[in-house]
């Protein structure tokens, strides 16, 4: 078992060592979270009462709403981009071909290459939540086990989409149109900064197809209101269904892209 974890661990250690070697950048990326939280705190003070009707399903606090939206949408950004970025970095540094020439399975190499980003994102999310708590967010009744399960399923789902984006990078090198489209539409339609209740009906329907919409709904209601499977089973089921559709298709697309790149010799091109 421990031997199986060696490859993912090696990727985490590699990326951690690289990240901390840029000392100022590392510290700044953590510190920027504190600044963001402060900014959202003041924005929330401006229109908290005006937005109250839309925020009632989430406890009524815009500050808590937006902090959870911004913090957890980081996982979506990473899921969509981390594997692709790692592939792109491997192409430009010339390490990709050597990684793919190792006996490690392709799927393990790809997922392991995004692990440190998740670890770092978790660190940033914790800072978001800690600073948020210091400024008045309340998690007293949070259903933590359910939130963790929802988060894990969300991450798998984001990675499924990320595999699509990766296949585009492998084939096109630049111009990750799909990744860009999903990221932008998720921020607009999934309720990161505002409740989806403010959107017109037809846009709300489009947003239902995005995993981030359901992920944020599950996380907000479980963390802020303490809701669990009894209240949220429908959202959870939709997220699982989306994941079951996206993940296999993303994996097939990525395998196909690598096969094409191995056929035309462009695997290490950039």
């Amino acid at each position: 078992m421990l031997a199986r974890l060696r490859v993912p661990w090696a990727f985490i250690v590699r990326d951690y060592r690289q990240d901390v070697s840029y000392k100022l950048g590392f510290v700044f990326r953590i510190f920027s979270v504190v600044l963001s939280v402060a900014m959202y705190y003041f924005i929330a003070n401006v229109f908290s009462s005006a937005a109250a009707p839309f925020l009632q399903p989430y406890g009524g606090s815009y500050f808590a709403f937006v902090i959870i939206g911004v913090a957890f949408s980081e996982y979506m950004v990473i899921g969509m981009g981390a594997i692709g970025e790692s592939i792109r970095e491997g192409q430009t540094t010339g390490t990709l071909e050597l990684m793919l020439l190792s006996p490690t399975r392709l799927v393990i190499t790809l997922f392991s290459s995004s692990l440190w980003s998740y670890v770092f994102a978790t660190l940033r999310v914790l800072v978001y939540l800690l600073v948020g708590a210091a400024l008045g967010m309340r998690f007293g009744q949070a259903n933590l086990p359910f939130a963790l399960v929802a988060l894990l399923i969300s991450i798998v789902s984001f990675n499924g989409l990320g595999l699509f984006a990766t296949s585009m990078i492998i084939l096109m090198k630049r111009g990750d149109v799909l990744g860009w489209a999903v990221r932008v539409s998720s921020f607009v339609l999934s309720g990161v900064y505002y409740p989806i209740g403010v959107l017109p009906e037809w846009l709300r329907l489009v947003g239902q197809a995005l995993p981030l919409t359901h992920a944020l709904e599950l996380l907000r209601r479980s963390l802020l209101l303490g809701e669990g499977l009894t209240q949220l089973w429908r959202e959870l089921l939709i997220l699982i269904l989306i994941t079951l559709i996206i993940l296999p298709i993303g994996t097939v697309a990525c395998n196909l892209a690598i096969r094409i790149a191995r056929t035309d010799g462009s695997l290490s091109h950039y």
Partner: protein, 344 residues
Amino acid sequence: MAPAIEAHALTKRFHKLHTYRDLALYPWRKAAHLAVDHVSLEIERGELFGLLGQNGAGKTTLIKMLCTALLPSSGSATIAGYDVIRQARQVRERIGLVSGEERSFYWRLTGRQNLEFFAALNHVPAATARERITTLLERVGLAEHADRPFRTYSSGMRQKLGIARGLLNNPQVLFMDEPTRSLDPISAQAMRSFVAEYIIGELGCTVILATHSMAEAEDLCDRLAFIRTGQVVAEGTIAQLRQQLHYGIRCELHLRHMPPELPDTLRRRAGISEISVTHQEIGPRLDLTISEEGPVLAALLRDIVESGADIYHFQTRQISLEEIYLRTLSPAARAPEPAEVTIC
């Protein structure tokens, strides 16, 4: 026991990218470039096999297909009995790759940290990896610099670390693509000794070496293949190549009193070719090639003596690998280009 490497009619055809103009005017036309053309090889275990050829001849493409980085268009190949297409993972467990590419490391990690990462990726158990990394760093002469960031390494040190990385998984077959490209002559010589004594002598690896260095090929390789436009045009030991290609024996003669008509007389004689005369202070020097020793050599010496010339110095030598290379692969020796194929 299966040979270390076996390839049958291995072929790689790359599809060329269309220009926007071609894409608009002839969208149905597919252009292809034949990079490796029906290459068949059999390399025994423990053998050091050299691939020689000009830039773009297809050496790297051939290596990439054999080490599973590139899928062949047709043909087949096995490494240690495993098929490079259907059993790629088993092949990867048994091979190492040393590329001349210096940038393929993580520049902000130390040399040791880089090796630790690649050892894990190659499923080398942690304890074995630690021990092997220390040994390899010592053997390639990087022990003192192991804990310095890779970005501070010189080109030669990067190349050495690349060789250490190629040996991390104790490979049965090691592919080396221009491993001494960035090394100075002294380091290159040390590296050749390392390959001969450690990689072949102690580890017993089979090595495929693609190189432009004739000294390296002559020093190290048991057998060689000359590759031109994707095809193996000659293959064998250096002695076999000399024999197969009928490039003959070079003769150098220093003469006195050489009659001016002697070179023409010799040109008419069968088995004598490539005659050149250079006038030196001590007298004319005659360089020529004879097809074989024995009757041809005897006739040559008789002709010279009978012409009235005095032979002050005479020596024969086997044709060098560099001369074989130049004669076999130089543009003058080139057959019509088979590399461009258009499939409509």
